[in-house]
């Protein structure tokens, strides 16, 4: 069986696995370091290499719900996420178990805030461990691809019929290049036939479907049955591993892998990508004559209890390396499970825990070697301390440059050259003054500018920044300071028009006197330019790439102006970084409205992004100006229901002049251009008509 290989990152190996499995529905929402999985998949779909329904959802909660719906309706389904995204899915993740939906989900592990990090540890998957999913961890990019295929085979087996999570460590696997062998499509097709749901939610096929209702008297019984299914899954996992070996020539040992365990008298237990370094540490110790072995936990749910006991019976000392802390227990996740697996047995050996690599810190071979030495030294001892935290001092970095100025922002940010967002921040904060609190759902400005502003900048969760603002505003109001301190967001378009919309709508309807500023760069720039609900028609993004099938984003953008106007809030305006005096006037108006306690003021500021729109950074302001002059982004305001166009060119320039400098539009055809021009003209005429009417009738 000859197989082609390629050198690729783990995320691409996952995507190839999904392609080879001929997955039918792929709901997505970007989050680092998972995002490139869905980008590679969008490339496959755009070029006709994968014939799947690809769903750009507006947030992870919906993403998991689409996956669940699709799987229940009988489609082979895949999705991927991590960290905050997985936490946001949590409610739907729990639901997938009793609906018996064999979803395969990849988790490119990343720390779950608090403290924020993009690097991996298992704090994101820990809260999902006990919901009834099968949860596995992989060590290499090859294992990523193979495990995706194996997970479909396991999950769709009627003895199991459960969703599966596969953890690949963010960065260490997701973005690291390794050699990966690609199985032949025909061989995969033969081994993994199409999924046939036993009871699909499809009245043309089945009169019955999985239920969520159960009398409370039977809960205990069905939870017990679920445990039996999880036990049965262990057999299926082992079977599938053997069958994969027979068909594709690779085996990973099923529930666990034993490395140099045969004559071992001490044992190190690991999981995920750290195992590769642990192998080298064990090799080194073996070279010195030490009889140490390594047990790699491939599945954590179901937990490989029998395998752990079997190895533990032959050794005199065990050390468990954990990349997570279960706070309040004193140690890590695998440690608790290993320890409790051994309690009602005759095994009485010291079990030590090493907690390390949190927040994505590297776990080097030297550290694992030292842990191995300690494990060997623990033989026959009674431990005085169960858990060691393996810590390192912070290397000294560059110091900020001391500078005095009267602005509310310092120069010297991490923003891209030519970044428009910084122009808007400076105008916003210099206009509102130092008694301002910025609430910031995750976006590139939070990453780049939170460290250089001189006002409180509170990092909020993606879907709930307006509620954070509400909380701060209400506390200030209670303490009599609502007219002295401004509470404003600095949100991107994703945090406004997509994942944040529900919370924003709530705050607007309740009449919270806060400012919502959306800097609209028309895509998720922070995760690498994926389309948002504000991305214009036909624009190419990394999740709407141009290929033989796809021709850029096929939908028009949301009309946020009218969505907010429907809430009858006192002030709404669109603005642009190219028209600073107009922007300043509108910020002042928003300040006045909120200071008077009249309700929410909404500012939607157009922000050309040289990195995401692919134009020369020198043209940031020029492109912004062209957007206004061509009518692609009109500047208007709704002041207590009175509608006005703020900047009215005598004659609109052709929209082509605005599109031309931007490479995200370079593929557009004459026909597409005509459609864009027609929509732009139509929108402009509608605005002129509304201005003539003056007052929006529903205010």
């Amino acid at each position: 069986m000859t197989q082609d290989f390629d050198v690729m990152p783990g995320n691409k190996a996952v995507a190839h696995g999904v392609r080879l499995a001929r997955v039918e529905v792929v709901p997505v929402f970007p989050i680092t370091p998972q995002t490139t999985i869905i980008e590679y998949l969008s490339d496959f779909v755009a070029n006709g290499e994968l014939d799947a329904e690809y769903v750009h959802t507006e947030g992870e909660h919906s993403c998991m719900a689409v996956a669940l719906g699709a799987s229940m309706a009988g489609a082979r389904t895949f999705t991927a996420t991590c960290s905050q995204g997985l936490a946001y899915m949590h409610e739907v993740v729990a639901q997938a178990t009793n609906y018996r939906a064999p979803i395969v989900m990849a988790i490119a592990n990343r720390t779950l805030g608090w403290y924020w990090s993009l690097g991996p540890d298992y704090s994101d998957i820990m809260p999902e461990m006990n919901l009834g999913w099968l949860v596995g961890f992989v060590e290499s990019n090859q294992e990523c691809l193979d495990q995706i295929l194996m997970n479909y085979k396991i999950a769709e087996d009627y003895r199991v019929l459960l969703p599966t999570m596969m953890s690949l460590d963010g960065f260490y696997l997701s973005y690291s290049q390794e050699r990966v062998y690609l199985p032949e499509q025909e061989a995969v097709d033969e081994w993994l036939p199409p999924y046939k749901a036993p009871y699909p939610v499809d009245p043309t096929l089945s009169k019955a479907w999985p239920s969520a209702n159960l009398p409370s008297q039977l809960h205990t019984t069905y939870r017990r049955l679920h445990e039996e299914v999880m036990e049965d899954a262990k057999k299926v996992i082992a079977e599938v591993d053997r069958s994969y070996m027979e068909n594709f020539g690779r085996s990973y040992g099923g529930m666990v892998e034993r490395y140099r365990c045969d004559d071992a008298d001490s044992l190190m237990v690991t999981m995920g990508s750290m195992t590769t370094a642990a192998r080298r540490a064990v090799d080194k110790l073996r070279g010195q004559g030490e009889k140490i072995g390594l047990l790699k936990l491939r599945f954590m749910r179901p937990f490989p209890k029998e395998e752990v006991i079997e190895v533990a019976e032959q050794v005199d000392s065990i050390g468990v390396v954990d990349r997570v802390v279960c706070h309040g227990t004193g140690g890590g996740m695998a440690f608790m499970d290993v320890k409790s697996a051994l309690y009602n047995t005759d095994v009485r050996v010291p079990v030590k825990n090493y907690v390390t690599g949190l927040g994505g810190e590297d776990i080097p071979i030297d550290d694992l070697y030292m842990m191995g030495k300690k494990i060997i030294g623990n033989k026959g001892k009674k431990l005085s301390k169960e858990v060691d935290f393996v810590e390192h001092p912070l290397p000294s970095g560059a110091q900020p440059i001391d500078i005095e100025n009267e602005h509310c922002v310092h120069p010297g940010s991490d923003g891209c050259a030519g970044c428009g967002a910084s122009i808007i921040i400076r105008t916003l904060l210099d206009t509102l003054g130092p008694n301002t609190i910025v609430v910031d759902p995750p976006n590139c400005s939070g990453v780049n500018y939170a460290g250089v502003v001189k006002v409180p900048w509170v990092l909020a969760n993606f879907a709930s920044a307006p509620a954070y603002e509400t909380g701060i505003y209400r506390a200030l109001r209670k303490k009599g300071k609502a007219d002295k301190v401004y509470v404003t967001s600095y949100s991107g378009d994703g945090g406004t028009v997509d994942i944040g919309l529900q919370s924003l709508s709530g705050a607007a309807e309740r009449g919270e006197s806060i400012i919502w500023l959306c800097y609209d760069n028309e895509a998720y720039m922070n995760t690498g330019i994926q389309r948002s609900g504000s991305t214009p028609l036909f624009a190419a993004t990394s999740s709407t790439p141009v290929g033989s099938v796809w021709k850029g984003k096929p939908q028009r953008r949301k009309n946020m102006l009218m969505i907010m106007a429907a809430h009858r809030i006192p002030y709404i305006a669109t603005a642009s970084l190219a028209y600073i005096p107009d922007l300043k006037r509108k910020i002042k108006k928003a300040a006045e409205v909120t200071r008077n306690g009249e309700g929410l003021a909404y500012l939607h500021v157009h922000q050309p992004c040289p990195t995401g729109w692919y134009f020369d950074p020198a043209k940031t302001v020029e492109v912004g100006r062209l957007a206004v002059q061509t009518g692609a982004f009109p500047l208007v305001e709704v002041d207590h229901g009175e509608f006005k166009i703020s900047v009215k060119p005598k004659e609109l320039k052709p929209v082509k002049e605005y599109l031309e400098p931007q490479r995200r539009f370079r593929h557009i055809t004459e026909e597409q251009l005509e459609i864009l021009q027609t929509y732009t003209n139509g929108d402009w005429e509608a605005l002129l008509k509304m201005e003539k009417e003056g007052r929006l009738p529903w205010y």
Binding site: N405, G418, C419
Partner: protein, 94 residues
């Protein structure tokens, strides 16, 4: 003290601090360097408003002065200058 982050009175609590000073040295990003011709400059201030890095401030005569420690060389100032008084010059390689 455990690290430079350990400034609060509460064990394990990390603080953001408004009093933190200044930004980073980002001049090493630059390929082209803006150079202002003060003869042509009419002190309109557009380059100051539009500089994405806030690296330009008015000097004593009201005309703009660039703090090259913070200039990333994007060229917005030169592109926006109505007097064409700013030229982007290739940085000399060392």
């Amino acid at each position: 003290m455990i690290s430079e982050f350990d400034k609060s009175k509460i064990k394990g609590l990390i603080l953001n601090d408004i009093a933190r000073k200044g930004g980073k040295y980002v001049a090493n990003w630059r390929v082209y360097k803006p150079v202002i011709d003060h003869e042509k400059c009419v002190a309109c201030g557009l380059c100051i408003s539009y500089c994405p890095e806030q690296a330009i401030e008015p000097g004593d005569d009201g005309k703009p002065v660039i703090d090259y420690r913070f200039c990333k060389g994007c060229g917005v100032c030169a592109n926006e200058c109505p007097q064409k008084a700013i030229e982007m010059k290739m940085e000399e390689t060392q």
